[in-house]
Amino acid sequence: MTLLSLDVLYVIAGLMLTFVAARSARNFTHRHCIGTTSFWGALAVIFIFGNLLPAVVVGAILVWLAVLAAAKQVDAPSEPPVSAEKRSAAADRLGNRIFIPALAIPATAVLSTLIVTWIPLGKVQLFDPKNPTLAALGFGAIVALVLGLCITRSRPVIALNEGSRLIHTIGWALLLPQLLAALGGIFAKAGLGKVIADVVETAFPTQYPFVAVAVYCLGMALFTICLGNAFAAFPVITLGIGLPIVVHRHGGNPAIMAALGMLSGYCGTLLTPMAANFNLVPAILLELRDQNAVIKAQAPIAVVLLLANILILYLCVFRF
């Protein structure tokens, strides 16, 4: 028996998303009320009933969500924010105690994962055995919420309101990692990895482990520079270079490879104007005459860090 399975957490998250949809529906001043409500409502349905719905229906809903987002029908309803004075007053009253609930999330996740691993509870399991860490994290979020409500002496509905305000602010981008992982799965099924691996193997002497590692990291960085997004580059380059060459051919550790590959992608993000949110928008925000000034400040860090990543990966991936 599992006390806190991922399915339970999916339902809780689905209910939260239903609340987000309802917040938009009840706000009559919201211009894109219908689009926004149906976006979060449909997502709530996928969370709560994901395993029961036919997969093709979920696929069709996904297309609908993408169309809604592209038609700019999903945005945050305007709500008066809490005044700065009120927040400052609360900050002064609570002092550093405000950090306790925030730190409780990782602390609970780490502790409960360790405890669950070391203490057998017989047939009753606290967390989903397939994914104990994520279940522990969900548990951490709930513990932190209770702590937060006690420390701030707030009613639970305030937390729900603030949470849905945050989700509205994040908007459709919330789905991006999940969708990109699904895209990676489709790429894999279509045999994309094989095509890229063939091209790379004819172009570089990948029989040398160092070359394989360097091509993977540089590939992540270059592809991220082109796409402006390391998350989008990850499935393509890992499927094409990382898995077939570094892991399968040379026997590298997939976790180490992926972690450093992603971080090499981030070095690319530091270098590209395609990542406008991180590099161009701040230049405008800070009123800089040179719109590439932020990239220029980051370039020495990005280049040295990329080389460091290649070195760390080469030294560790075949050893651990």
Binding site: G59, V63, A70, A84, R87, A91, S164, A190, V294
Partner: protein, 234 residues
Amino acid sequence: MIYLNLIGILVIAVGFACRINTLLVVTVAGILTGLVSGMSLYEVLELFGKLFVENRYMTLAVVLITPVIGLLERNGLRERAEALIRRARGATAGTVIRYYCAIRQISAALGINIGGHAGAVRPIVAPMAEGAAHAKHGALPTKTTEAIRAHAAAAENVGNFFGEDVFIAVGAVLLMKGFFDTQKITVSVWSLALWGIPTAITAFALMAWRTRVLDRRISREVGVANEERKEEPT
């Protein structure tokens, strides 16, 4: 024509370059890739739906964490973080930026998202760094001011990117986990997060080096500007 399979990558590259909505670009890329590799539209949608449902846990963590983070923000989480950053008063521009980068990186590694270009760099970090340089050197040339601001923005990006990856519940780590799950390879989120630490430390060391260079550059540029000003009247 095996290269036809690469059409998805082309769609992503063109779509991102034209700034078309990312959600739409990714969906279209997936469907087209499936179609050219011989699946029917029904099969592609079915596969997409199945993979999306399997990967729900990526969004799960964010959704579950938002209520408590929202609650804390309402009660002055950012204001308190600001107060911590302001303790670096009286330092050089480089120290202020380095200190911010450290706080940003550590908090991101613990899963707390404070900061941001609009939320912290423009209102707090950049003015404090400029203020520190001004207090030490007097009037600053425009290009020096701009270099300080650009480095403040760089500290935000470096701290954010290379701190976040150490936390297990964020997009990056979960994306990697989800990717390996679809490939039937078992990888623990802990090892993915822990292997981000060497790079995180290196990134901070590099930021520390750049902020020292910045401090030297400020002294030099102010010196040159003062020389020029002295020569002008004659």
